[in-house]
Amino acid sequence: MSSQFDQKDSHRPPRMGRAMLTLMLCVTLYSSALQAAPPENTVELVDLEGQTHTPLRNAKAKATILFFLLPDCPISNAYAPEIKRIAAQYAEQEIASFIVYVSPDLSVEDAKKHATDYGYEIPVLRDLSFELVRETEVTIAPEVAVVSAEGKCLYRGRIDNLYAALGKRRFKATQHDLRNALDAILQGVPVPQETTKAIGCYIPKPKTDARLLTR
């Protein structure tokens, strides 16, 4: 029933008109040509307390976890306790964590309220123009990216397998992909699976795209 979600390949087939598809293809080819050089990825964002961070170039940590969340996605919210446990546990081993809200028009007040409601004590960023989303290529909330101090993406995907598909929640998670990746990074061995398929809500497309497409 949920074959689409069971596929390992996380690239969903584009669902657009053919003309749009062609256009997008050109844009993609063009932009990937531009990105052939190593990305600069010094994305600079200010957290809810006013502190500036460059999470993709975080020299203060062995690696940095970015938790991409949508405040009104129930699957994203259900992970709050596990996110807090992971952030606290790995902070002791010099791994930094950021909450990254990917809702395009989330105000500072709403972000603060959500972070307080769910008890997040790690720095909270709002990726309003989807810079971190683009650089890490995440598509789902909740999804995580683990980046090295040099900005290399070491792991991207789900936190664990609590959700087998939309509407199919396991009794409890049986595979802890993010923890496994972090443990491997700390031990200096290759991450067992560098990308996994996250289950949750799609990260919205920037509003400008929508206006472009409105007939």
Binding site: D72, P104, L166, G167, F171, T214
Partner: protein
């Protein structure tokens, strides 16, 4: 090398294919085609103050979630409605047609154009507060129940005294959770036995634990349920000290509420008969939301204007939630089946149907073979989900003539491939009330078409119940007692 003409034909064919394939529903716009579907089927819950996570009231709301909406409607996860269309249509069915689903997915494929603003229909008028009007009686949980931030789902039952000094007839119950993000569904029961109050003392938390297993305790299973006027098991006194109505059951179901459902009066002037001194029991399913919450449910009760003289007869197949079936599901088993059959001794009118199993439940079917050999499907849930325990009601009475053979079939998947399997690796599972145990049955809510024939129906079902018990592996334990009767 192809001739020029050939090439031309080839190009024409390609162009025709190109322009036709994706255009079953060409040029779908939000305002004209999509908004009516969303407003009608999604916005009831997807609006501020309701249970669903985000509003779907404007173009921007829907456009932002377009991909997700396309996925969940295609997979029929939303709107939540697990039953397939069957031969007796359901009331208040929340199910999109194939055409509606195709419209939505095509609209998303086409980039979600907004369309002409003038075409946008008005939002429906959503009733706020009590949708059935001011209730006759409003009661709340005595204490808030704390739902933790995470962990497995919780099944908890709350006893609420109604302080009724005489028999009442309930036509509808409206349920209002206080913490909407954690309350998934609640099933309602009346309990004039006082046992619910006793169970409240089991632990320090408000309410008492358990799902249907706890209900079985209240009902006094595995002896025949009191719903069948068995003088031996009917309570002599209600908790308020009033004598229970002779012949009236002291424990029974009163319907339920699930996310997305609106309260409705029972059809045809029917009403649940509730004895004096009954407590209301809310059997509530919570799912932790990531944030600790406190729930204090409020319930509005609507009494029938006049007593209903028609008594309900739930036909549960297999009886006692499958307690006598010797359920024993080996680890790895992908298709474990239990079945039960009951022949109606009188003409019956059914007004609703519901199913129950735990996490291993895979599919549910209830069929009726009429005396002329016609086979009808009453309930078919091909992909059972423990989380959506809907109480389905028929649009009109399902009229089942005398001699109709009811057949229930429930399957279980105890393999690793069932993501809901509570055990990893899969473990052997037996009948039991814990959610890691299994049970299973389908209940048809019926009336004797001719009220005077109700005793025949009751007695036939009681016989069926006893024979199920005698055939069960447990029967040796009960043999002596049954023979003594």
């Amino acid at each position: 090398m192809l001739s020029f003409r050939c090439q031309l034909v080839f190009v024409a064919v390609i162009l025709t294919w190109w322009s036709h394939t994706p255009s079953t529903f060409a040029d779908v716009n939000f305002t004209k085609e999509i908004a009516p579907i969303i407003f009608e089927n999604c916005a009831t819950c997807h609006r501020p103050g309701e249970a669903a996570p985000f509003p779907l009231l404007t173009y921007a709301d829907v456009q932002e979630r377009g991909d997700l909406i396309a996925d969940v409607v295609k997979q029929r996860l939303m709107p939540p409605w697990k039953a397939e269309p069957a031969d007796y249509p359901f009331l208040y069915e929340r199910r999109l047609s194939k055409d509606q689903i195709e419209l939505i997915t095509n609209w998303v494929d086409q980039g979600m154009p907004e369309g002409n603003a003038a075409d946008l229909p008005a939002l429906p008028e959503f009733a706020s507060g009590w949708t059935l009007g001011e209730p006759d009686l409003v009661v709340s949980m005595k204490q808030p129940y704390r739902v933790p931030a995470d962990g497995p789902d919780i099944y908890r039952n709350f006893t609420i005294p109604l302080d009724l000094t005489e028999e009442h007839f309930i036509a509808a119950i409206a349920f209002r959770p206080s913490a909407r993000s954690v309350v998934h569904h609640s099933l309602f029961f009346f309990d004039a036995t006082g046992r619910g109050r006793e169970l409240e003392a089991e632990d320090d938390e408000p309410g008492f634990k358990g799902g249907m297993g706890a209900m079985m305790k209240l009902r006094g299973s595995p002896v025949p349920p009191q719903a069948f006027d068995d003088p031996e098991t009917a309570p002599k006194r209600s908790p308020l000290g009033k004598r229970a109505t002779p012949g009236a059951p002291a424990f029974g179901a009163l319907g339920g509420w699930a996310l997305g459902a609106q309260p409705h009066l029972l059809p045809n002037g029917l009403a649940y008969r509730v004895p004096a001194g009954s407590d209301l029991i809310l059997a509530t399913h919570f799912h932790p939301s990531g944030k600790a919450e406190e729930e204090t449910s409020t319930v509005g009760i609507y009494f029938a204007k006049k007593p209903s003289n028609r008594r309900f007869m739930p036909i549960q197949l297999p009886p006692a939630f499958g307690a006598f079936k010797g359920i024993d599901i080996p680890p790895g088993e992908k298709e474990y089946v239990i079945e039960d059959t009951f022949v109606l001794p009188v003409d019956v009118e059914a007004f609703g149907v519901g199913a129950h199993a735990h996490y291993l439940g895979k599919s549910m079917t209830l069929t009726a073979t009429l005396p002329d050999g016609t086979r009808r499907t009453i309930l078919s849930i091909p992909d059972w989900d423990f989380a959506w325990q809907e109480q389905y009601r028929f649009a009109e009475f399902a009229k089942l003539p005398k001699g109709t053979r009811l057949h229930s079939r429930i399957t279980y998947d105890n393999s690793k491939d069932n993501p809901r399997n509570p055990s990893d690796p899969p473990a052997r599972v037996h009948f039991g009330e814990e959610s890691t145990d299994e049970m299973g049955s389908i209940s048809l809510m019926t009336l004797a078409a001719d009220e005077s024939e109700l005793p025949l129906l009751q007695s036939a079902y009681r016989t069926h119940f006893r024979s199920a018990l005698l055939k069960s592996p447990l029967s040796k334990l009960f043999q002596g007692r049954l023979e003594a009767e």
